[in-house]
């Protein structure tokens, strides 16, 4: 199939439809409103469900309803809207309800601004909802990857009966570039084993998140974490670029990863041994793989459009194998190739000085 | 002529059935049930029950599980 010029938000919406998404429930918020607009224009034509809900609380709970019947459903929102959905994410994980959430990050905290940012890494990975739970979080760095990961999000949601978040940012959402849709490449599992459909010639089923009897919730949480361990074992993905001899390794996710990749090329041209490690699944985080990379590197520079959020996971993965530096800008401040290159030069010089001095 | 069947261990002793019975055929048992509640008891020595099921309709616990007429 030929490539077409497509905007990030529209690519995600179109890929969702091709993935078999039967329902979209959402509430408008910049910078992702094109997803809802595309769905509103196209889903009804296909006889599928589109509702502009009364709030993000309502939209994610409609996704839950659809999910309990084993139907592919999604919502999309941005920072403050995603904040309102956190209770439902926790409930979905507990009750094992599949669903896809697209989070197109804007600047924060608060209402913040509508500029691109990556300040919702913690929101997606560490937080908000109550209790021990994990969203599967996928992080695309370009429009093609947004399409591929949208397909994967729908598949993983059903495969693991867990909410899956596609964590994009305003740059990706608003950016146009050529990409290819192809066909939905996955074979999804049969949902009839567990989905609600009426207790017809079978025992009644329930999909609930309240487990009061002593020990029941502990047992359930342990079961969920066994599942998360399987997700980590089977689904961890990341991009490695020019790592073989890299002394300085850049880590970045999403669109920053793409800028960093360009900087690696430039640094190599300038004779610096620089590489890139870009997690594609943020949960599961490729911690073991990053640790191996860190063992062979002299330094890691973590780049993010925030004050240092993935940084915690990077440090935890590196676990002292090499020093970790951070360079970031929050709330709409962008990291340009020039800015990153300058930082790389500065750090690389320090490494060279240390090498000359025999420290490393 | 009617008759009711009370699941005495399900009865929590709210006695709304006593109030509902038009023939006043329900009373408080002197024997506690499994949970220590004194359940409602059906006493119909003169076969007055008309099987109207008012007791069952008012019972919040479906403790009156069958009504015959």
């Amino acid at each position: 199939m030929a490539k077409e010029l497509v905007k990030g938000n529209e690519a995600i919406a179109k890929a969702a439809i091709k993935a078999g998404c039967q329902c979209y429930f959402g509430y408008p918020i910049t910078p992702q409103s094109e997803i809802g607009e595309y769905m509103g224009a196209n889903l009804p034509k296909l006889g599928r469900v589109f509702i502009t809900a009364e709030s993000e609380l309502a939209s994610i709970n409609m996704v839950i309803g659809a999910g309990t019947t084993g139907t592919k459903a999604m919502t999309s929102s941005s920072s403050c809207g995603i904040a309102l959905m956190q209770e439902a994410f926790s409930a979905m994980c507990c009750a094992e309800v599949p669903g896809v959430i697209v989070s197109v990050m804007r600047g924060g905290p608060g209402l913040g601004n509508i500029a691109p940012a990556q300040g919702d890494y913690f929101q997606a990975l560490k937080g908000g909802g109550n209790g021990d739970y994990k969203l599967i979080v996928l992080s695309p760095s370009n429009v093609q990857e947004a399409i591929d990961l949208t397909y994967r999000a729908f598949h993983l949601a059903l495969k693991y009966r867990n909410p899956v978040m596609l964590l994009a940012d305003g740059i990706l959402g608003q950016m146009m570039e050529p990409a290819e849709f192809g066909e939905y490449p996955y074979k999804d599992p049969d949902v009839n084993e567990w989905a609600l459909s009426g207790a017809n010639n079978r025992p009644a089923r329930n999909i609930v998140s309240l487990h009061m009897p002593e020990g029941e919730m502990e047992q359930r949480t342990n079961m969920l974490f066994e599942k998360y361990a399987a997700v980590a074992k089977n689904e961890t993905t990341f991009e490695e670029y020019m790592l073989k001899d890299a002394k300085l390794v850049l880590t970045a996710f999403g669109t920053v990863g793409r800028v960093a990749k360009a900087v690696v090329d430039r640094a190599r041209e300038a004779g610096m041994k620089v590489g890139l490690f870009r997690p594609i699944t943020l949960f599961p985080f490729p911690d073991k793989n990053l640790h191996e990379v860190a063992k062979n590197a002299d330094m890691i520079l973590d780049l993010e459009l925030n004050m240092g959020q993935m940084l915690l996971d990077v440090r935890s993965a590196v676990f002292g194998a090499c020093p970790v530096e951070f360079y970031g800008r929050p709330a709409g401040g962008l990291l340009t190739p020039d800015m990153i290159f300058e930082k790389v030069q500065e750090l690389y010089k320090k490494l060279d000085d240390k090498t000359k001095a025999g420290v490393i | 002529m009617g008759r009711i069947v009370i699941d005495r261990d399900v009865c929590k002793g709210c006695y709304l059935c006593i109030q509902a019975c038009p023939k006043k055929l329900l009373k408080i048992s002197s024997e506690p049930n499994l949970h220590g509640d004194f359940p409602a008891e059906f006493v119909d020595k003169n076969n007055e029950c008309i099987g109207c099921a008012a007791c069952a309709m008012n019972c919040p616990d479906v403790a009156i599980k069958e009504v015959y007429r």
Partner: protein, 251 residues
């Protein structure tokens, strides 16, 4: 030869005995819902949505598929289910804390969208499960654990009248308030629930039944006193009635 004129509904689980306090109105309503599911032969095609509060444990009582919703979001979950499975019978079972307080926005919008679902809201004018705090429907003057001197309008405003407001929504096909105070009114309540079932089965719009029910424990009354209080006090603030019934309206 005697005939069985009443028995425990089939769509209640055999050992699914209610765990409510003595004299609580929930059991009466759940029993009537189970009876209607039996009468309409809906057991195989029903998906029930539980909510948060004393209305939560549906799966422990019903032999039905049950989806649990977060506090106030039952009608959203129901919307998602019904839109995906329009041939299923979908009802939510909520309290006044859930449907009229934290989730009233969802209730109203579900009504405005005219979703083909049935919502049963138990109104006992307090948060029962958490120990009797004031809710949106608490009467002025009513003593609760958060209004120990009685609800004062100048401090916390006035009770919300859910059935009347829902009736104002264009997507609502049926909205009624009933009170389960005695045999006659329990029969009327069942008629209203039956109507709300039929409305959904005919795809006529959103059906809402608010049921005034006693909460003897948190009202600090004996069950019979609580019923009397409902008749004499609660009903004067939350009057029973059918506020909308499109099947009765003429064009």
């Amino acid at each position: 030869m005697e005939t069985l004129v009443y028995k425990r509904p089939e769509s209640l689980l055999k050992d699914g005995h209610f765990t409510f306090c003595p004299g609580c109105g929930h059991g009466v309503v759940l029993r009537m819902i189970a009876e209607l599911i039996d009468e309409f032969n809906l057991q195989k095609d029903t998906i029930a949505i539980s909510s948060v509060g004393c209305s939560i444990f549906l799966e422990k009582f019903f032999n039905l598929d049950v989806a649990g919703a977060s506090h106030g979001r039952s009608t959203c979950v129901a919307t998602g289910i019904k839109r995906c499975k329009p041939d299923k019978f979908v009802f939510t079972y909520q309290g006044d804390g859930d449907a009229a307080t934290i989730g009233f926005n969802e209730t109203i919008h579900t009504a405005c969208r005219g979703e083909h679902i049935t919502t049963v809201m138990i109104n006992n004018t307090n948060f029962g499960m958490t120990g009797g705090q004031a809710s949106a429907t608490t009467l002025v003057g009513q003593v609760t654990t958060t209004t120990p001197m009685g609800r004062k309008a100048e401090l916390t405003g006035y009770p919300l009248h859910a059935a009347e407001i829902v009736a104002k929504c264009d997507g609502t096909a049926y909205s009624a308030r009933v009170a389960i105070t005695d045999t006659k009114n329990i029969r009327k309540a069942k008629e209203a629930l039956k109507k709300a079932f039929e409305i959904q089965m005919k795809g006529q719009g959103f059906a809402f039944v608010e049921v005034l029910a006693a909460c003897p424990t948190n009202w600090h009354m004996k069950p019979a006193e609580a019923i009397e209080y409902m008749e004499k006090v609660t009903e004067t603030v939350h009057p029973v009635g059918v506020f909308k019934d499109i099947t009765k309206e003429t064009i």
